[in-house]
Symmetry: C2
């Protein structure tokens, strides 16, 4: 779309229809405070944001909800709940309490989607299957609670390089297997390009997720190497890596009846070191250029 | 077995029957020159080594072959051929030439197995499927050439975190799909715990690989976090991470008619900084303790 729209010549602008799909995840420009983020979105014509619990809590959940609502911004997701894999009963109870709080926050913010990072292996354990079952147990407790508040849970499969310490759900197929135990309006999945791009079973997984009505969130980040130490904060700006964003968008669009909002969620030290509004503009432009 | 064998009290020793399965991959103790490695193996009762092309070439291929043969050591594999994914015809021809040389070296060294790291995405490409087809094309050229020299090609699926820059074959299923286009005595797979441990389709993949007679190499390394920058040299010593080595060994044993040798292949800066013979002893001990 950028090729045919004059407003794109100097950057993504209000006029580009592709921007109607764009949502900026707060973490991408975490150097911006919430008011600056909201102002930047309004000026650029970015219609939606994905929020994170910690900065929202710092600002105040009710105040944050008012700020984005008054600006007319949609909240496409809240990140994140999860970390369900502990064996210790006290730790499990605390995790469930924390997730109930996250569900309340999502409802207050007016988003229908809470993203879940399910948790890694407990210390000393190598039991992936057991950890996945504990995730299912937690979902069984939380999904009805969330549904009563108008919030859907979205299981995010994380790249297998995070399987031991962050998330034992490593593929879309695994996430769908877990989600499939619950009604689609209660539990679905996140399609995040960064985590899933390498998987040759992806096309059929996306089709299945769409057919089941379980694509509750769609996020973009590019894959660039070398990976940094700890492999957390090396997600590439859209277009800088090897992920075919257009392929993903077309597959998701083909699998869903209504076009979904698309979040760009980048954890990237180099982007965080730059001016936040400049990064926001660049990200909107890259989104339009590489996704449509 | 370590619990019932007196020779293990102070370290892995000649008497432990589990050691009969052990092969030390040269890269694990790359600080040792080949003569020191061979001497250490002889003294400890380690019956086999996995070799790498570069240090063998430095020593001289024929001389290396004589050294290990005279010491009575088996050579369980040569690492590595591969890097088949280039599009440029000249680059492809050079890769094939280099792999033919690797096959000759494997034959000279008396090993029946050449390990293949298949290659990542060419610069600017996001076409995983195309890259995998170019691997199949290369295998079609090389497999008969290798078979004539008594060498089997072993496709190593690498962890998905290497999919862009080292190997677009990321799962055992993918490796078996590629290998399955060729006779099992020509093309098989490597089962490496470091790359495969996270995959919930692994048990059936190992069973299938064994039933097809395609487990041409079995390698161990443990998974530890945080991963280092570049994610190459952070493989954990056996027992230091979350991989259940006994599970792997039992699955592979159940899938194969004859017990296979088991290589320990660690890329680990901390191990490389230590005395090589001490690391060799420790690795043999860990192998016996955690694999049997």
């Amino acid at each position: 779309m950028s090729d045919t729209n004059g407003t794109m010549s100097g950057g993504a602008g209000n006029g580009d229809p592709a921007l109607a799909r764009f949502s900026i995840n707060q973490m991408t420009v975490k150097q911006l405070g919430l008011p600056a983020l909201v102002k930047g979105c309004t000026e650029l014509g970015v219609p939606a944001v994905g929020l994170w619990r910690e900065p929202v809590q710092t600002y105040g959940v009710a105040a944050a909800a008012r700020l984005v609502r008054d600006a007319g911004l949609a909240v496409t997701s809240l990140c994140r709940g999860g970390f369900f894999t502990a064996v210790d009963p006290g730790e499990r109870a605390r995790a469930l309490d924390d997730n109930r709080a996250a569900i309340e926050e999502a409802a207050t913010l007016g988003t229908g989607t809470l993203v879940l990072v399910s948790g890694g292996l407990p210390p000393g354990s190598g039991d992936l299957a057991g950890a996945r079952e504990r995730i299912a147990d937690a979902l069984a407790e939380l999904a009805p609670y969330a549904a009563e508040r108008g919030v859907r849970l979205a299981i995010e499969p994380l790249h297998p390089m995070y399987a031991s310490d962050r998330c034992v759900v490593s593929t879309l197929d695994q996430a769908l297997e877990l989600a499939g135990r619950f009604p689609a309006e209660q539990v679905g999945v996140v399609i995040d390009t960064y985590h899933l791009w390498w998987d040759d079973r992806l096309a059929q997984g996306i089709a299945r997720a769409g057919a089941e009505g379980r694509i509750h969130s769609f996020q973009l980040a590019d894959w660039v190497t070398p990976l940094p130490e700890g492999v957390l904060n090396g997600r590439g700006q859209i277009g800088d890596g090897c992920v075919d964003m257009r392929w993903f968008r077309q597959r998701v669009d083909a699998a869903t009846a209504t076009p979904l909002p698309i979040e760009v969620e980048l954890f990237n030290e180099a982007l965080w070191a730059r001016d936040g509004l400049e990064v926001l503009r660049e990200t909107a432009l890259r989104f339009v250029q590489h996704t449509f």
